[in-house]
């Protein structure tokens, strides 16, 4: 049986943790990086052996800051992937990087290694906002990185932006949007800041904390969100998911895979996988991960495992699919689960349509703008238990 999967490689290193970041990452020295790359190689090879006859359609190297790995290390990793799996000829291979961590020499080697899509974490074009976020770079450093990336010939580039940063105004956010759009990256991700537990931001702005005045209000934040779409549309970007905007043909295939419930393998600490009916993720401690890799105890690396029943699969189909602008297709639902969408969710869909949260186009259902604003409220309707 032929199988097609996506591959996610987690690089948990960064120069310094940002104030809002809840990803699994921390600063590390060269020796740890080296050991970690070796462990990744072993884990990738393990999966290659385990999943025979499998094609990798996309690869996403995320972090942390993957650009803290050298060009050579990136080559090692991608060569290992190619040794272990068949990689599709025009596979999308994305690598995340942060300004101020990149040099031309490495960039050239990343490209040579096969990376064909670059995602740069900018977050804001305003230096005072970058500082608030605890970023290590200035806007100028981003520009240098961006230009270097282009100069190396990368033709598919994403830039990340964050809205609702403390102290940010609608005007300053819109300025960031214009500045970035004028650079013409193929893709822009624009996220509203989420104050996640366990971050310094949570200490300051989290639940139960007296809200600092400079955190934009919900109304302000929603206004920023609406302006994002309006402004980026003028520059030729289309919103294809709640927080993602792309020029025609440049939507991120890897991420779309998540929302369309394609199978994927995640390697590295804390990385999540979805295979068959199972979702599982790796342990989060790097020492343990390195030790298990060394003794080839790959089964022990899994720390959380969940086997989905049909009803959970249906829930996922809905709440992941509806994140995308094109929404979900009734035909696809029927094809996947063998029963009509209407039979399972007819009542909920009718209610949500009446409330102006869901719209129907052909046989597709998608969120209205108001539906996006309160999408959790919509998704909860599709939870079965």
């Amino acid at each position: 049986m032929k199988r097609e999967i996506e591959l996610y490689i987690h690089i948990p290193f960064c120069v310094k943790k940002c104030a809002y970041c809840d990803f699994l990452s921390s600063p590390a020295d060269e020796a740890v990086k080296k050991a970690y790359v070796k462990a990744l190689e072993l884990e990738i090879a393990f999966w290659g052996q385990k999943l025979e006859n499998t094609t990798v359609s996309t690869i996403f190297i995320g972090g942390g800051t993957p650009s803290l790995l050298s060009g050579e290390q990136m080559e090692t990793l991608l060569q290992c992937v190619r040794r272990s799996f068949r990689v599709e000829k025009d596979a999308e291979i994305t690598m995340e990087m942060n300004p101020g961590t990149v040099n031309d020499k490495n960039l050239i080697r990343y490209k040579k290694a096969g990376v064909n899509r670059i995602s740069i974490g900018l977050q804001s074009a305003k230096n005072e906002e970058l500082q608030k976020l605890g970023r290590i770079h200035t806007f100028q450093e981003f520009l240098d990185t961006y230009k270097a990336v282009r100069a190396c010939g990368f033709e598919n580039v994403n830039v990340d932006l964050i809205s609702a940063i403390p102290g940010q105004t609608r005007e300053s956010f819109e300025e960031s949007l214009h500045i970035v759009a004028r650079l013409e990256p193929e893709h822009i991700s624009a996220y509203s800041l989420i104050v996640e537990e366990g971050t310094p931001f949570y200490e300051k702005y989290g639940d139960g904390k007296p809200k600092e005045r400079d955190l934009p209000s919900e109304e302000e934040e929603r206004a920023m969100y609406k302006r994002t779409k309006e402004i980026l549309e003028k520059y030729g970007y289309e919103r294809y998911e709640i927080s993602n905007y792309a020029k025609d043909g440049f939507a991120c295939r890897h991420n779309i895979g998540y929302w369309e419930r394609k199978e994927y393998i995640g390697v590295g600490i804390g990385a999540a996988s979805f295979l068959g009916k199972e979702r599982f993720s790796n342990i989060r401690k790097i020492d343990q991960y390195l030790a298990y890799a060394k003794e080839r105890s790959f089964e022990k690396m899994v720390s959380e495992r969940e086997i989905l029943d049909m009803s959970q699969e249906m829930e996922e189909f809905m709440f992941l699919g509806l994140r995308m602008q094109k929404g979900i297709s009734a035909a696809k639902f029927q094809e996947t689960f063998g029963c009509p969408l209407d039979e399972v969710y007819g009542k909920e869909i009718a209610k949500l349509k009446k409330q102006g949260l869901l719209k129907e186009k052909g046989e597709n259902f998608s969120l209205t703008d108001f539906g996006i604003d309160i999408s959790n409220y919509v998704f909860v309707e599709f939870m079965n238990k």
Partner: protein, 604 residues
């Protein structure tokens, strides 16, 4: 067990203010008299409901028989009757006391005499019990046994000089208590050959034995085969088994005769037949008159109880029926609410009783409940001369039909150190208390006498009392009839619709304040929804307070990639779970706990 001499029996109870160590002393007595080894002892043997252990209070009366070999070389039978420890159960306490011949008064060596100490001593003296004091917790650094002894003599007026100074916790000097039980508690009297006269001080339902009646034989003898009759309820049955109380078990014996404490089973199916305080006699050879003091207990506080999941209505009914088997004071009848669906209006002895039943329903029967604000029984005098006893605010007649209303009052005694007298008087004032006088018990402590409306003390009076006196005030009350009062029904409108389950009766002068607080509280409890929701408080057609829950603007996860899916799914599941705990009233979803938020309006 025939042949036990009355002179070798001691029937007694332990009385104390809450937390002065009543149950711990009971444990030590049981342990030291060899009934259980300390290894078998689970702390506080007599409190055998989980709830009792957790809350540190006794809810149901218990009894245990132990044998003590005294210094005089004789063996004595001790029947220790543990009485409930809360004002809600005052009547049960009085019946338990009536089953005893004497009482041990436990007083905390640091705290001294408290309101319940006094109330309990008076209750015991009313029943002609011989009371001897014990000073407990002398191992505490703050213990002042001499001061407390003087206080007992001054305030209560009982001899305390040779009171054992003990630590029930460590077991220190507990032997002295045992010796004094023999010396100071009188042996029972009564003629074993007279017609049977036994006092019911509790009963318990057992699925094998039927009702197990706990009793004290005052006169005569009862054994298997005796045809007994309950003099107040008229129920009669043939005795199947008699016996006494081991620790946590029933031990059958030949017969129970005058002076003894034990149990009777007689294939009775319902505790309703065996009211606490009733007299058991021999149906074929009845005694001339029942024992004094019997009364039928009536609920004082009512509330609506609804299953969170409407489909569980039959389960709730079954559970209430089962609890009622053991608790004759619990009453319930079906009612319907527009907001909450089918449920029951339940009557309780007091708020603690209510909480206990609620917790038992939730824990032992796995029910998820929505409880409405407790209400006392109001007397509504209608213009046509009819008098209604109102237990559900929704049933209040149209104001035009009401001549006047009455509410139940209590006579309260509050004991407090002098520095807090002002604060406590303010509190009583706020709660519409009528000052009845004050006495100093000693230089620094006084007893305040107030008449208070019951509905002002059922929610949180005790908490307020404690917080305003830094925990030093103690409190006891008894019912004191009805008094006319200006009362109105406060209605809550959510999105312009009246929510029946949130209505309550309130003193007219407090309506504005309560309405305002209620709206504020509901605003916190009701989550934002798709549209703006006005919350209003109204008396009749007049809106007296308003708050608004703003429309939901934003509830969105900006990111959801491969590593987020499981976690986000859990969040959505949790959100769904919360939604299931909502009640749909009109277009608005109201969380179940909002219905109980009225209880906590006075958080300061």
């Amino acid at each position: 067990m025939a042949g036990i001499e009355q002179s070798k029996i001691r029937n007694f109870c332990i009385i104390a203010h809450i937390d002065h160590g009543k149950s711990t002393l009971a444990d030590r007595i049981i342990e030291k008299t060899g009934l259980l080894t300390s290894r078998e002892m689970q702390a506080q043997v007599l409190d055998n409901m989980d709830l009792e252990r957790e809350r540190g209070i006794t809810i149901k009366a218990q009894a245990v028989r132990t044998v003590y070999k005294a210094k005089d070389g004789q063996e004595y039978i001790f029947n220790l009757i543990d009485t409930p420890g809360h004002v809600d159960f005052n009547y049960e306490v009085s019946r338990s006391l009536a089953a005893c011949d004497g009482a041990i008064l436990v007083v905390d060596a640091a705290q001294g005499v408290e309101a319940q100490t006094l109330a309990n001593v008076y209750l015991a003296l009313d029943h002609d019990l011989d009371v001897f004091p014990v000073i407990n917790k002398i191992d505490l650094p703050s213990a002042e046994p001499e001061r407390v002894i003087a206080e007992i003599e001054d305030v209560i007026g009982i001899e305390a000089e040779d009171a054992p100074r003990i630590s029930a916790k460590t077991g220190l000097n507990v032997e002295e208590v045992l010796e004094q039980i023999v010396e100071k508690i009188p042996a029972p009297t009564g003629n074993p050959d007279a017609p049977l006269k036994a006092l019911i001080f509790d009963s318990k339902y057992d699925s094998y034995k039927g009702v197990i009646v706990f009793c004290r034989i005052k006169e005569g003898t009862v054994k298997k085969g005796t045809k007994i009759r309950m003099m107040a309820t008229g129920a009669s049955a043939e005795v199947v088994e008699v016996g006494y109380f081991g620790a946590g078990q029933f031990i059958p014996c030949e017969e129970l005769s005058a002076g003894m404490v034990g149990y009777i089973t007689a294939s009775l199916k319902n505790v309703k037949d065996t009211h606490v305080g009733d007299t058991i006699t021999d149906a074929n050879n009845p005694c001339d008159a029942p024992l004094p003091g019997y009364k039928k207990v009536n609920p004082m506080v009512y509330c609506g109880m609804y299953p969170a999941d409407g489909a569980k209505y039959p389960d709730l009914r079954d559970a209430l029926e089962k609890l009622q088997l053991n608790d004759a004071a619990l009453q319930f009848e079906p009612e319907t609410s527009v907001a909450l669906g089918f449920g029951f209006r339940c009557g309780f002895l007091g708020l603690l009783h209510l909480e206990i039943i609620q917790e038992r329903l939730e824990r032992e029967y796995n029910l998820d409940l929505v409880t409405t604000a407790p209400s006392v029984i109001y007397k509504v005098h209608k213009t046509n001369g009819e008098v209604i006893e109102l237990t559900n605010p929704s049933n209040l007649p149209d104001p035009a039909e009401i001549d006047y209303m009455e509410e139940p009052m209590v006579k309260a005694e509050i004991m407090v150190t002098s520095e807090f007298i002002g604060a406590i008087m303010d509190l009583c004032q706020e709660r519409r208390g009528i000052y009845q006088g004050m006495e100093y018990m000693e230089e620094t402590r006084a007893v305040l006498h107030y008449d208070l409306p019951l509905n002002e003390i059922i929610y949180d009076f005790f908490d307020a009392l404690k917080s305003r006196s830094r925990g030093y005030a103690s409190f006891d009350y008894e019912m004191k009839g009805y008094a006319q009062s200006e009362l109105v029904k406060l209605d809550i409108l959510i999105n312009k619709e009246e929510v029946d389950a949130l209505s309550f009766i309130v003193f007219a002068g407090s309506a504005y304040e309560r309405g305002r607080k209620m709206c504020e509280k509901l605003k916190e409890e009701i989550p934002r929804q798709l549209f703006e929701i006005p919350i209003q408080a109204a008396v009749g057609s007049k809106i007296i307070a308003r708050e608004t829950v703003r429309a939901m603007r934003k509830d969105v996860l900006a990111k959801c990639y491969g590593g987020d899916i499981s976690r986000k799914k859990k969040l959505l599941e949790k959100q769904k779970e919360g939604k299931k705990r909502m009640r749909q009233v009109g277009n608005v979803e109201i969380p179940q706990k909002a219905f109980m938020s009225v209880l906590k309006l006075d958080d300061k």
